[in-house]
Symmetry: C2
Subunit: 434 residues, 2 copies
Amino acid sequence: MKINLPFSRNLRHQLRQLAKWIAIITPLAIVVGSLNAFFLWLLGKATDFRISTYEQHAWIIYLLPLAGVAIVWVYRKFGKNAEGGNNLIMDEIHKPGGGVPGRMSPFVLFSTVITHLFGGSAGREGTAVQIGGATAQQLGNLLKLDEDDTRLILTAGVAAGFGSIFGTPFTGAIFALEVLTIGKIKFNAIIPALFASVIGNFVTTAWGTHHSHNKLINITDKISVQFNENLHYLDISLIIGKIIIAGMAFGLAGYLFGELTHKVKDTLKAKVKNPYLIPVIGGVVVIIAVNLLGNYDYIGIGVKAYREGGVGINTAFQEGGAEWYSWITKLVLTAITLGSGFKGGEVTPLFFVGATLGNTMAGLLDAPVALFAALGFIGVFAAATNTPLACTIMGVELFGSEYLLYFAIACYTAYYFSGHTGIYASQKVAVPKH
Amino acid sequence: MKINLPFSRNLRHQLRQLAKWIAIITPLAIVVGSLNAFFLWLLGKATDFRISTYEQHAWIIYLLPLAGVAIVWVYRKFGKNAEGGNNLIMDEIHKPGGGVPGRMSPFVLFSTVITHLFGGSAGREGTAVQIGGATAQQLGNLLKLDEDDTRLILTAGVAAGFGSIFGTPFTGAIFALEVLTIGKIKFNAIIPALFASVIGNFVTTAWGTHHSHNKLINITDKISVQFNENLHYLDISLIIGKIIIAGMAFGLAGYLFGELTHKVKDTLKAKVKNPYLIPVIGGVVVIIAVNLLGNYDYIGIGVKAYREGGVGINTAFQEGGAEWYSWITKLVLTAITLGSGFKGGEVTPLFFVGATLGNTMAGLLDAPVALFAALGFIGVFAAATNTPLACTIMGVELFGSEYLLYFAIACYTAYYFSGHTGIYASQKVAVPKH
């Protein structure tokens, strides 16, 4: 009776491969983690300048159209195919072709900061993912990696970008694989992606960056209805029923966000001849909206409310912390900002839309507010990006394990009801949802 | 500008499909959850009878060879292809053919209880999965489901079985999908699987069944080294380095377990002409081992140590709670028990092997014992079944979210170093690991 141990045959090959990837991924993750730390620092400064410590600078919003023109001009003049953004990176992972241009990284970094400085409504994960992807491509070119290895390093770059921007490394690795195709995950790149995401997050944190969500929101403490082991089975069934109903709403909101962003972009492109007029229109609409609303709650990153009685992601976890129209207002303003040429991610706005919609659904369904805000936070994101697994895991990384099952039910319900599109045009459908 | 809402086209189709699956899965999950509650109750009684409350019955181990003959006889005489077990279910999901026989469910339930009553070293998840799969097939036949729907209901049955036996519903759903192929997950059955797993676990719990791992092991309280935010980056790097080394050991242990189980089975089959002699040999070896060891720690389910100073899964989380030879002893005894015709699962023994190996590795590497026992608990299982994602999630469902990232690193490292075989012969390789 002879047992073949795996190392008798291929341990040397395996270790050599491991060493190779460690040598490739470590510098990649250090660069991406550092760039993201710089980006987050700059983003914080821009947001603070506009609204927090110096509220007198809030007038800067009136320069938003001009800032948009500058961004469009720079991308048109010098951007080459950097405009392709996240979709270009996904295309290159599906089938390596022309490559991701190195300039994508600084371009998206600074134009995102400008968007936030002047009060556009946008996020940051798109920026982080593009920094990750573009850096990975440059390193891949330098090392003359072949097609398969290029795919792996690009995926690792996306994982490092995503994982380090939100402080959720395992989510980053799963997201990078799950986002490529609907209904299927291929795990070929999981080891490099996980490694890149861990190191990337490590480096971002080591630079002293604080992730805004971490620890900010302790839903377990805030949940108003006590869930304990003595909870009657009927109560648990009832809460699950409510989660499914809310999950359907999250799914439709995620779908709506994707569709609206695409439509705004396509319509403006088709109807407006002068490309520089597009950001002007977008900027003016945002200015009008801000004046109608009478506050700055729905522009910028939206993580915190900067005024007494304001709405932000953080307030959505408390009763009365969101208006009934909060979610749709943020959704529309973000679609207009991103659809008219400004830069930034979609995910933080999706968190805002989800958390405030969760707050509203909790009121309608007589459910615990903090829990439903958390479910919306991850559920709308799951729906818009078709990544229910990554979002369930993100729920655990941000809010703890106690409600893991509720996270899963909300994310998968939202995913099921969000159609086959989503915010990424380059995402492929491997297995239809229904 | 017109937004197509998903319900304008296919909401009716979607809701009809949902209603259909709810109508199919609900009774399935209720039956599987109830059968598993009954199985766990009976298993508890059998274990207690042999060793816990009435230690005078420990002599029953001398009847183990006879019990084995009875099991082999019943399976040969009446079992038809029920012998195929988990692999048969996986084959039917890959490509529905002759179907899973209904008798698999009672056969495996009672023969597992007999294996445990007479002191074989085995687990229970195989039994639960077979109960789930066989019940699903019967329901599918009754409803005359087509091939695609049969695949889905079988997957849901496996999820319900796995989720309810360990009290880990999300793990159950992911496991049922992940176990089918190495390196790829197809999410077509995720909604039915998740639904089945949630209801199944709900029903098992409602019958008053207590899952032995839940809450038993609170590693967060037990960790001897304090992990806090002030921990130096060097300390964190060091602990991650140690986890990777331990993960390699977990991977090799999982690989060894799979290989040894197959080899014992094949060798006995090839060398021993009389099929009834096989369980006699296996039983006698177990009896000799117990006498050499001088205790009953390494037979049966092994969740708890039943004597002062004994070894069980629970003791492995404490310093000095395992011997250096604990892991290999349990590994060999389980391979002999299952390889010689007794019935039961592999997973709880894998937990035992992993937790005790983790305990030993913690000693060698000067690392926190409770954490490394937890990492081994899930890591060896991940390696032997090639399901690192399900095992990472199981870590969260059992031990909380605080160490999620360490769980992921341990499971994926173990998976990477465990070769392409594993305990399930019917598992396919979609994407090679390296």
